[in-house]
């Protein structure tokens, strides 16, 4: 259906539920929510699939409680509003903390991801030819497994709300990953991988996938590193410095800064699934989250990231602001209803306005508080080489193989693909099976070096899970090289 054909029925639906006593209503129609997954495994195209969704999702706030309903049938617009209102009325039966959206003026606007070449306009054969050429470049005598993965998304939707907002968005995401594997001298499978990253500026269409600087330029290095892993000793248990490259640092930030700073987690709305947060409403403006080298932004005005989308799913424009300022916790990731509740609960104005972080993964899911881009700002400690030169005893770590985080994000355990030992300011050898663990606040208090802009890239996360019904979201993280001291790395047995 065309947007214009829906303006009337949707406007009527919104007016109807507001007349029935709702406090707020919004609707999202997805004309297209398409994806394409191509996976080449040892040169065989093992996945060649596309999907297409289209439909309307309606959210109604009534009596301080949310009701939601969705339909993929264009003829069911009125029923979707009725169902969402009925669901909200039922929800209002059990309310101890009424939710409130506050009052905001309507917004009219549009946003399109910057794209030179839409990946869905690239012929399939061209994409497959490109994948085959990437696969060819991963080959080497000792490489036993090769995986080249491409996941493309295109979404076109219109948003309306009861404040008169109308916003159109056209979003494009390109994710790519390459993995090579081989068995080491102990018969254990080792791997190296590289995901497509962005520089933070420029466009994010097919041209990004084919830019060697963002992905395939690393393939030769990956092969060299894998060959070294095959005869490398295992990282021994002990305390030492860990230097996280962005391939690992972005997940550290995602799990132990991004998630604990989602306001719905802080307020206790994720307890039955993802968990809570060690952060409380009293923490803002008081809690030392890390050393004064730690400054973290939300959104960060990054041009080309999956966490850049113009307006969130409540119609709030994306906003660039600091979450952590020189180690001090100052803000978090917020939506409208959550800041209203937090300010009431705290009895003071902790948050000024929504952080534009209310996001939904599909027309048939209700928006929740999500990360946008959660970024560590570049520091003044130079290049990776400069940081290594000032490290007495440590390891450089890259790319996660496992991640397990405490339910309030207070502690964590990560496994990585590779470690490079650093002794006396020099890289000495490669070590396999590295793991490290820590307690979040203690860990960030020992952040002792932050790389400059030359070390900073935007890593793309295509698969952050949260919410019930569960939602997978796309997120970006701009991160530099970071060094943490006195960290437990390796396993005791």
């Amino acid at each position: 259906m065309k947007y214009d054909e829906l303006d009337g029925p949707v406007g009527k639906g919104i007016a109807g539920v507001m007349d029935a006593g709702a406090g707020y209503c919004d609707a999202r129609y997805y004309a297209e929510d398409g994806s394409e997954t191509l996976v080449m495994y040892d040169g065989n195209l093992e996945s060649n699939s596309s999907s297409f969704e289209s439909g309307l999702g309606v959210r109604v706030l009534y009596g301080g409680a949310w009701g939601f309903a969705a339909t993929s049938r264009g003829s069911d617009v009125a029923q979707a509003f009725d169902k969402a209102l009925a669901n909200a009325k039922t929800a209002a039966m059990l309310v101890s903390v009424p939710l409130d959206m506050g009052v905001r003026p309507g917004v009219k606007g549009s946003y399109s991801s910057p794209v030179q070449k839409d990946p869905f306009d690239v012929p399939l054969q061209e994409k497959l030819g490109f994948l085959a050429s990437m696969d060819e470049r991963l080959k080497a005598d000792f490489v036993q497994r090769r995986v080249v993965f491409l996941y493309l998304q295109r979404m076109r939707n219109r948003f309306w709300n009861s404040e008169g907002s109308i916003i159109d968005r056209n979003l494009v995401n390109c994710f790519a990953n390459a993995i090579i594997m081989a068995q080491d001298s102990d018969g254990q499978m080792q791997r190296r991988s590289k995901s497509l990253h962005t520089t933070g500026t420029g466009t994010r269409g097919w041209e990004m996938v084919t830019d060697p600087d963002l992905w395939s330029g690393r393939f030769e290095g990956m092969k060299e590193e894998l060959s070294q892993l095959l005869s490398a000793p295992e990282l021994a248990f002990g305390r030492r410095s860990v230097i996280l490259l962005p391939g690992q640092g972005h997940l550290q930030v995602h799990e132990t800064i991004g998630h604990p700073l989602e306001l719905d987690r802080i307020l206790g709305y994720e307890l039955s699934f993802a968990g809570g947060s060690f952060v409380t409403l009293d923490s803002f403006g008081k809690l030392r989250y890390g050393s004064d080298k730690l400054s973290v932004s939300a959104y960060g005005s990054i041009e080309n990231s999956p966490g850049t989308f113009g307006f969130d799913d409540e119609g709030t424009p994306e906003r660039d602001y600091l979450l952590i300022d020189k180690g001090l916790l100052v803000n978090c990731l917020t939506s409208r209803a959550m800041i209203s509740e937090a300010n009431q609960a705290a009895g003071r104005r902790v948050f000024e306005s929504s952080g534009g972080a209310s996001r939904s993964t599909a027309f048939h899911k209700a928006p929740i508080d999500r990360m946008t881009n959660v970024n560590v700002l570049p520091g003044g400690d130079g290049t990776l080489e400069d940081i290594v030169a000032t490290t007495e005893d440590g390891v450089i770590l890259d790319n996660p193989t496992s991640w397990s985080i405490g339910s309030n994000r207070e502690h964590f355990h990560f496994g990585c693909e590779i470690a490079w030992e650093v002794k006396g300011g020099k890289v000495t050898r490669v070590l396999k099976n590295p793991t490290y663990r820590g307690h979040t606040l203690d860990f960030y208090s020992k952040l002792s070096a932050v790389g400059d802009r030359s070390t900073w890239v935007v890593e793309q996360v295509p698969n952050c899970g949260k919410g019930e019904p569960n939602q997978v979201m796309e997120i970006g993280h701009g991160v530099p090289v970071m060094r943490f001291d006195d960290v437990i790395a390796g396993e005791e047995r």
Binding site: N87, G268, G275, H364, H413, P469
Partner: protein, 455 residues
């Protein structure tokens, strides 16, 4: 319930495709899903969706393509356009270096063994009433959260290779309630599962909380890293068993040297003699599918018998590539672990074992080293310290980092009864899955690698 328009449209297009010599496989998936979420003693979301998806997979020699569309099947045209898209994708695809195995519906099926219309049409007000009873009946001043997902899943499978049609409709529900102390942040949880309206009872959750609340009035205990005897509850046990199967029994990982079982083979003893595992689609404590999503007929399938590995699981692609027979494990499986001969009550089982940790559920488990079978995850809900068979104090968030071989190899006791553990997620399409495992497992020498200073 499947309408004739949908069925006729799929069959008509299937026959047209067969006439043209197209090798196509059709899966229609329809869900009616409802979910109520509770946060801060309130309903935080009440949502319902009715979604239909159609997957079409086409194999063209060694080329393959698939297309999924969400939307109503209003007639043959909707099916035809999805088929055309899959045909085009297959025709443009790159050929594999092996012959793919075409999915095929192995037999006709019409199943509604676990279908309850009352649950499919359940009024969400009934859910609010149950949660209200729990909130009012437990933990004054505490914070209740939870979610209650319920609905129906209907699938119809057809292929051009034969005239068979496999259809199933079933209902399922998954209930949770979490009780949290607003300051201390400890959490108790209660989970319930089933496929009938009325399977979820407020009283069961209230009783579970009542048992633990007195223990949680005591201060939290920080567990020093080291080796402990641990009572795993059924939630934790189902998670460990599921991960052990996923990383040890997948044919792809085994053929390619990734699994922790790679040093062994079928017929070798790999776990404790107390461990017997089957995939049993006839077990009513799991969600029963008589066929899998590749059309293969399912029946009782032994995985581990008294610690001995009995079989590996092969999907169509892996079987084709490595010249093996595919096994019917595409979609929901029914893992059933045989009960043991321990006492009814887990506390009785550890009465003479001194200091023991009771960890009912694990949070955020992952696999740092698949080759070695190492997993890691932390305690969360309702975890307590037990001394001489008495629950004495709640424990702070504690991390287990150990191997499947150790935890499922050194079993001191297994419950003589089984519990159904719902393992469904709501990320993608509705596809209920549950395991039936002993109510508890006592393992010795379990490695606690870290512990927080808080819950």
């Amino acid at each position: 319930m499947l309408d004739e328009t949908t069925r006729d449209a799929i069959l008509r297009v299937r026959d047209e495709a067969a006439d043209k010599g197209i090798d196509a496989f059709f899966v229609m998936h329809r869900e009616k899903s409802h979910l109520m979420r509770i946060g801060n003693n309130s309903v935080s979301l009440n949502t319902s969706v009715d979604l239909t998806r159609l997957d079409v997979e086409v194999i063209d020699g060694r080329r393959e393509g698939s297309y999924t569309v969400m939307g109503d099947i209003t007639g043959p045209e909707s099916v035809r356009s999805a088929l055309d898209a899959a045909v085009e994708k297959a025709s443009l695809s790159a050929p594999k270096d092996y012959d793919p195995i075409s999915p095929a519906v192995q037999g006709n099926a019409e199943e509604m063994l676990q279908y309850d219309e009352a649950l499919e049409e359940m009024d969400s007000r009934d859910k609010a009433v149950v949660y209200r009873e729990i909130i009012e009946g437990s933990g004054k001043g505490l914070n209740h959260s939870g979610s209650w997902s319920s609905g129906s899943t209907e699938v119809l499978l057809a292929c051009t290779g034969n005239g068979n049609l496999a259809w199933r409709i079933g209902t399922d529900q998954q209930f949770s309630c979490v009780l949290k102390h607003p300051k201390e942040k400890w959490e108790l949880a209660s989970f319930q599962t089933g496929w009938r309206a009325g399977d979820v009872k407020a009283g069961a959750t209230l009783a579970a909380f009542d048992r633990l609340l007195p223990v949680y009035e005591k201060p939290g205990f920080r567990v020093e890293p080291g080796e402990y005897t641990v009572i795993f509850g059924s939630q934790a046990l189902a998670e460990i068993v599921g991960m052990a199967l996923g990383t040890g029994f997948g044919g792809r990982g085994y053929e390619e040297g990734m699994n922790w079982t790679c040093g062994s083979g079928v017929g070798d003893r790999i776990l404790s003699e107390k461990v017997t595992l089957v995939d049993d689609p006839d077990d009513n404590d799991t969600f029963r599918f008589g066929f899998d999503m590749a059309g293969m007929t399912r029946s009782r399938f032994p995985l581990v018998e008294r610690g001995v590995m009995k079989s590996l699981l092969y999907d169509l692609a892996t079987a084709a590539r490595y010249g093996r027979r595919p096994t019917p494990h595409h979609g929901s499986v029914s893992v059933v672990m045989a009960p043991g001969d321990g006492p009814e009550c887990p506390l009785e089982a550890v009465k003479k074992m001194g200091r023991v940790l009771f960890i009912p559920a694990l949070h955020y488990t992952h696999i740092p080293n698949r080759s070695k079978g190492i997993f890691t995850g932390s305690s969360r809900f309702s975890a307590v310290l037990v001394e001489d068979g008495e629950m004495v104090r709640p424990i702070f968030s504690s991390r287990i980092t150990d191997t499947f071989q150790n935890v499922l190899g050194n079993i001191a006791a297994l419950a003589p009864w089984r519990a159904s553990v719902n393992g469904s997620s709501t990320y993608g399409r509705r596809m209920p899955e549950a395991a039936s495992v002993p109510g508890y497992m006592v393992s010795t020498g379990v490695r606690i690698s870290d512990c927080a200073e808080s819950f």
